[in-house]
Symmetry: C2
Subunit: 337 residues, 2 copies
Amino acid sequence: MPQPRKRATVHDIAAAAGVSRGTVSRVLNGGYVSTEARAAIEAAITEVGYVPNTAARTLKMRRSQAVGFVALEPHSLFLDDPNIGAIMLGANAALSLADHQMVSLVVESARDTERVGRYLSGGFVDGAIVVSARTHDPIIKMISDLRLPAAFVGHPPDLDQNIPYVGIDNVGSARTVTERLLATGRRRVGMIAAALDRDSGIDRLTGFRAALGDRFDADLVADVPHYDYGSGVKGMRLLLERDPTIDGVFAASDAIAAGALEALREAGRSVPREVGIVGFDDSTWAVRTQPQLSTVHQPAKEIGSCAAQLILRQLSGEQITPEGQLLPTPIIWRDSA
Amino acid sequence: MPQPRKRATVHDIAAAAGVSRGTVSRVLNGGYVSTEARAAIEAAITEVGYVPNTAARTLKMRRSQAVGFVALEPHSLFLDDPNIGAIMLGANAALSLADHQMVSLVVESARDTERVGRYLSGGFVDGAIVVSARTHDPIIKMISDLRLPAAFVGHPPDLDQNIPYVGIDNVGSARTVTERLLATGRRRVGMIAAALDRDSGIDRLTGFRAALGDRFDADLVADVPHYDYGSGVKGMRLLLERDPTIDGVFAASDAIAAGALEALREAGRSVPREVGIVGFDDSTWAVRTQPQLSTVHQPAKEIGSCAAQLILRQLSGEQITPEGQLLPTPIIWRDSA
DNA sequence: TTGTACGCGTTATCAG
DNA sequence: CTGATAACGCGTACAA
């Protein structure tokens, strides 16, 4: 078995180079040191293959140069939400540039919640990005209490006022697409609303409702648990059953829209001729359905890097405006509406 | 700004409870301590909201109770490979049960490689799971040199003999599905081969070739870079151009198969009547295409948990058989072939 | 049952 | 420019 061999310490390499630990530390971290001493030390370092012990450094410096990326309820997320990956990549790129290590932590169970809490508070990370927290998620209070520099992606209503967040204008985007659906002559416009325990889900419904005004009809809203394909199929079937004359649908995500398309095909309805449909996310789904989806573009990478910046700025002692930051969401008109 | 307040230490809570640091440590880690002392200490702990400093514990114990999950080239992975998420979830679940924190590290650039190397060797993790390494990936040597307990998902040919891996029998699975394609009367069977710089890509091609034997025709192999939809479209177009009489296709992934379906639709070929097609992965793609895909099921969650077990066993000092571990891959016959 | 003292590997301070 | 020495916060022999 590859038993981790005893690793060389600053002490060892000091001995090997015939100098003191202080001098070694100085060549490692920059400082005045004579050319010959530096040479001897560098030789010793490559000789024994020294690698610094970051845990010790963290203890001493009170800085780990690491930032946590906490993914809540990743089961549905990883399997159906294409955004989470892009957000991670965006955050990682930004942190990487600032020489910080992004470590992502997955929270699936109560056991995970507690362990991740310990991890976050144990000095392993200097800050945390939290993605897709639900309302009343215990992690919210945990982060507040810890006073750990944090940034949320999305903003659960009970989020601590002092914690910044980044997101998109779900209400406005939903309203805009719904209005467009109406402007193109759709008379009976419904919505497949999902994830009403998250701010994104609630806000999209709010926007839809705002666009409809007096014409809003609660019967034309199908409430499904997740942003996934299966929910889309079920939601659309329900809507067709409740009102066969429905001719427009705002789906809370592209995956849902794709499922809705399937249900409409089953029912023999043609899209966009008989029914117009718009999605949300501009994910890979959008261009693979037949017809391709009109949808709201989410700048996922930018969201990730923006959240990372929010952390980095806090770490450099900058005062952060407590309000959130909303990124623009261009609307992409394709063929489905 | 939420400035991290000075955190209470064992020292502080010892003072508050009027005992010594040793006693505090004993109630934290289990040991003989009088009921009254315990009560006083526990009161003090909740009073000041003490949380242990894990970095210090790591330094002392030489154990971080954390395991790295290294995702190489996640860009294409996260966006097109549905398995990576499931593997992560499987690994996390297994590690969670053993009270270990999974921390996933993303490697996208040379800069990332170096930083992740430092992270892995810095004592932040007790072991590492490495997923989808390419041949000659620098991370391989890095892990070998570090002698860090590790487990690979898949096995690049130049993997250190001492490092265990877990995977599936790509050669056998590919061979089986190809044989079935032939057995159902397909005469001109081609393959869209992808990722030939990874073991998975190479092995699937090998299995395909083995099934064909003398009938193998290099012209009927389209070589595409990634396991994604776009590659599938291009690969299929190429195949149709090279031999319009092609009537069977083994696609190296479901995403590729879905792309191939699109290209066949373009060309006016009906599936499975004129052309039979099989995919690989049994991902969400498989049941969303029209017709649904016949494919090879990858037990992604099991792969993740198996890799985690491999690490945990090494951490408990167990001798690991250096060979890899291959998980079964049931073949799912649906409608596309 | 409890307290004391030491060391884990670093970096920082301060004389020399 | 360099070398000793003191923390950082914790676990644990060892002695009491």
